[in-house]
């Protein structure tokens, strides 16, 4: 009898372990590239700007053309430790010059490295998961055309248990939701704005509060959040708090000046630098999207 219990216990433990391993297993992307056109690096430059890649991956305090050298190194403080942006320049060893387009897609849309490890969600792949196949094609070719840097990656400063990468698999199982938050009938401009805001520009990563485990609290989408670096708050940008007209928003996305002629500050300055590079229609699309977001008190 005792032996049966033991056996059952062993089988149960094995099942639980394998279920855990399956849940936390890094999975590759299944993006279908059939039907995409040849890579257009100029279009990729706009995807790059909208996605804000340089804001995190350029060297700290880089300005002008130096922002296109994606040597990494910028620090991101969080409740879980400090993350350091890696080198994603086309250097074959220090950067991602040796990556295939499939490996690039796995990283950007699934948060999985070529070696099959999870990336920490400081990298906003949960938003980039919405990236269209054509945008991926164009972005990949553009990034491979940028200058290479041989600066080595700095390891993240993250303590146990978060230093166990496999644990990110649990986080992904809980929070990796690729659905859109704003739903219902949308105009083409609002749809484009939603793709930009919820996908490429990953606005929610800062403007939406997080749960204790660092997942987005989608019930308060874009409703403002404490600043992860410590002081102050990231503002609520839902219609209950942001009463700007769409024209005001477009002007802000272009010049960084608010309707009261205050200016953007902090990280938002870089966001504006990126948005200012997009066609006017994209800034208008973002503004129209923000009007469709559910008000958060």
């Amino acid at each position: 009898m005792m032996r049966w219990f033991l056996l059952l216990g062993v089988i149960g433990a094995a099942l639980a372990t394998s279920a855990g391993l399956i849940v936390t297993r890094p999975d590759r992307s299944d993006v279908d590239f059939t039907g995409t056109s040849e890579a257009d690096p100029a279009a990729g430059a706009l995807v790059f700007a909208a996605a804000g890649c340089a804001s995190c991956h350029a060297a700290p305090n880089a300005e002008g053309d130096a922002r296109l050298i994606l040597s990494g190194g910028r620090a991101f403080a969080s409740d879980f430790g400090t993350f350091f942006a890696p080198n994603i320049s086309p250097d074959p060893t220090a950067g991602i010059g040796g990556w295939s387009r499939q490996e690039f897609t796995d990283a950007v849309t699934r948060g999985v490295s070529p070696a099959g490890q999870h990336y920490y969600p400081a990298f906003p792949y949960t938003a980039y998961a919405k990236m269209t196949p054509q945008d991926l094609v164009d972005l990949f070719s553009y990034m491979q055309s940028l200058p290479a840097s041989d600066v080595a990656n700095r390891p993240h400063d993250v303590g146990l248990p978060f230093s166990i990468r496999r644990g990110v698999g649990v986080w992904k199982a809980l929070y990796f939701d690729t659905g859109y938050e704003v739903t219902g009938p949308l105009t083409p401009a609002e749809t484009r704005g939603r793709y930009l805001a919820e996908g490429l520009a990953h606005c929610a990563e800062c403007h939406t509060p997080r749960t204790a485990l660092g997942g987005l609290d989608r019930s308060r989408w874009l409703g403002g959040a404490p600043n992860p670096s410590g002081k102050g708050r990231i503002p609520n940008i839902t219609p209950s708090a942001l009463a700007w007209s769409e024209e005001d928003m477009i002007a802000y996305f272009t010049s960084g000046l608010t309707p009261d002629y205050d200016s953007a500050g902090g990280e938002m300055v870089e966001v504006i630098e990126n948005l200012a590079q997009l066609p006017e229609a994209d800034r208008a699309a973002l503004a129209s999207y923000l009007k469709k977001v559910a008000p958060v008190p």
Binding site: L257, A264, G265, V269
Partner: protein
Amino acid sequence: MKKIFVVPLAASLVLTAIAGTAIGDGHADKALQAAIAARQAQMKLVSFNTAILGDMAKGVTPYDSATASAAAANLEAVAKLDRSILWLEGSVQGTVDGTRAKAEIWSDAAGFDKAATALETAAAAMAQAAGTDQAALQAAMGDLGGTCSTCHKAYRGPKN
């Protein structure tokens, strides 16, 4: 018998010490608060005059040479207030309520001075351009707006 006196004496000494510290802090705090209020008033004047110029640049209000010149002259004057008595060390976000001034203003004083001087330069250029015509005003406006963002990016923290 002695104890009866010692306890109240000790207690009153402690209380005096606490009160003394509080009053001392109150003085320092008041000076910092006053400096914060003064530079926020300066920023208010910057944005008031920039708004007149910006609205004309955007065409929200019609271009008027005299009004533009007046706003630009105000801006030029208010941009060059002596910073040494406005940006008191310690009047920093997280330490004193109501300010968003980052510690980098003092730890990177040269960088802060460069960013603030850029506003002085852009405001002086605006004072030269604003009275000419709308196109000249628009050109100067781009540089002026850029100096706001550059300084706020590095030296102003998020909303409290």
